[in-house]
Point group: C3
Chain length 217, copies 3
């Protein structure tokens, strides 16, 4: 498997996704709790880089690659600072959602590809791709004392799981890396955007989707 994350195209997309995650993550944090500039930058950077760091701990690629690479740190810090200084950006919620979906797709696919590169099995690669996509936002939610959105509603983890699974299947089937990666990312992106557009949710446990039941989260 060669998802060549060094190729210029994927690098640029990955940095764009990092920027969108940091911006979106920092804006979310500002909305939820009263934090200072340290909190905004910390939470933005954790949203952007946390998933990749968790993946790299699990596959033993330490120090984590995005943490070692100053370009990722710089882009993540820039996105967070933009959220701090220009909170009016929040009104641009549509483009931010689109970029965030792009980041999710790229992170899920490059995360699964990297796990395969490091010799992990297909189940592990799908899980690690998903963690790469959703892990940073989950850590941020824990820090701002919010139940992680990914556990409760929306189609957020599901597109990442589907995209990572397609990538792993393509790898097993001998489909070349770059087309497989772009196709899987496009699929993840499409599912995510359809979910946002039609407000789709993952199924809930029996007896728990009763609309009259008081919401406790």
């Amino acid at each position: 498997m060669e998802v060549n994350t060094q190729s210029t195209l994927l690098l640029v997309l990955d940095l764009l996704g990092t920027f969108a995650f940091a911006l979106n993550g920092a804006l979310t944090a500002v909305r939820v709790i009263r934090i200072d500039i340290v909190g905004v930058v910390t939470l933005g950077m954790i949203t952007a880089l946390g998933g990749g760091i968790l993946r790299d701990i699990m596959i033993d690629d330490l120090p984590p690659s995005t943490f070692s690479d100053w370009r990722y740190l710089t882009v993540a810090a820039a996105g967070s600072l933009l959220a701090f200084f220009a909170r009016r950006l929040e009104r641009l919620s549509t483009p931010i959602t689109v970029f965030d979906a792009a980041g999710l797709s790229l992170f899920a696919i490059t995360g699964a590809g990297k796990a395969l590169d490091f010799g992990l099995g297909p189940m592990q690669a799908v899980i690690l791709g998903t963690i790469t996509g959703v892990g940073g936002g989950t850590v941020r939610d824990v820090l701002v004392r919010r139940v992680p959105v990914v556990l409760t509603s929306e189609l957020y983890a599901i597109p990442a799981i589907v995209g990572a699974t397609v990538l792993v299947v393509c790898d097993r089937a001998g489909v070349p890396g770059l087309p497989a990666a772009l196709g899987a990312a496009a699929l993840c992106f499409a599912i995510r955007m359809i979910g946002v557009r039609y407000d789709l949710h993952a199924p809930r446990p029996q007896g728990f989707d009763d609309p009259d039941r008081p919401k406790r989260t």
Copy 2:
């Protein structure tokens, strides 16, 4: 020290403990917050595998062994899905508590044994055995925004600490691995079940066990 976790008996017990942890963890999560299927499976698997993953990060056995082994992933996913589809299982609270205590005992003992195998000292082995037993449930509690039960009440960490300590002392005293492991696990299990039966709690700080003091957790 050779706690041979490959022996069929211990493997079967360990997988049973994993299943019980996943089932119990997922049922607990469903009770506490409103989550979807992604949340149920994620939280069940984290409860079952999280402690071992934390231990393996600390002793530098990466990727974590239970994460690499598809049998553990499959059993943990199965236990979680069972909780999702058959919430009525909750009524079987006694057998689930028993299995959970068995899982705690086995995880604490195999965790401490593995730490010794990797050359860590006796204090470290006791701590890592305890983390193996209680770490997964603690991460789950953080994700569902609950103060970890292990910090606040019940005899949950204490049996794990006692069991792991007995194993470490036996190891130093030259007691062979398998009898020591089974004896230590049995002791942990007995303390845990006695604690459940008689509703025992660990001591609280001075001035904080006043029953009239409003509970803030």
Copy 3:
């Protein structure tokens, strides 16, 4: 870069900082939630050792050095137990704040120095120094379900960032390790104590420092 953490002076200071962090961390935990002795000791030790453990995971020095060293474990456990048995110590809030600031300073500086020793870049060293200083308290706050203080108010992370930055700049400029470390730690300590004395806070995002806005944290 040779911040020789083995030198007796630095070791004694580091153990003092560990003790202060454990004591302060355990007292904080007791104030915030109702916990038992397991919780007090766990949270005190996590406050004292958590930052160094996070740093060592990131730089791949596993098992984490302070976890492997029984002196740190013992000192951290002693500080936590003191908080459990002598809650009246809380009245000594001034000396505890001073020791805590000393711990913050030493942890930030030795953390950044260790990151440089392990070949990480300057940005990474500053971040890891800061994590060493504030990481343990952050994990404790998450476990007791409090928004981490470091994200919301006070000058707590800022002195650590400044101290770590000074250390990294000195290293690049060829200033010898021990004077640089002591100077950077003194600067961090001074900023922290000035912040406490004059109740200084880091800037908040636009529109969020309105005193009439209800506090949601």
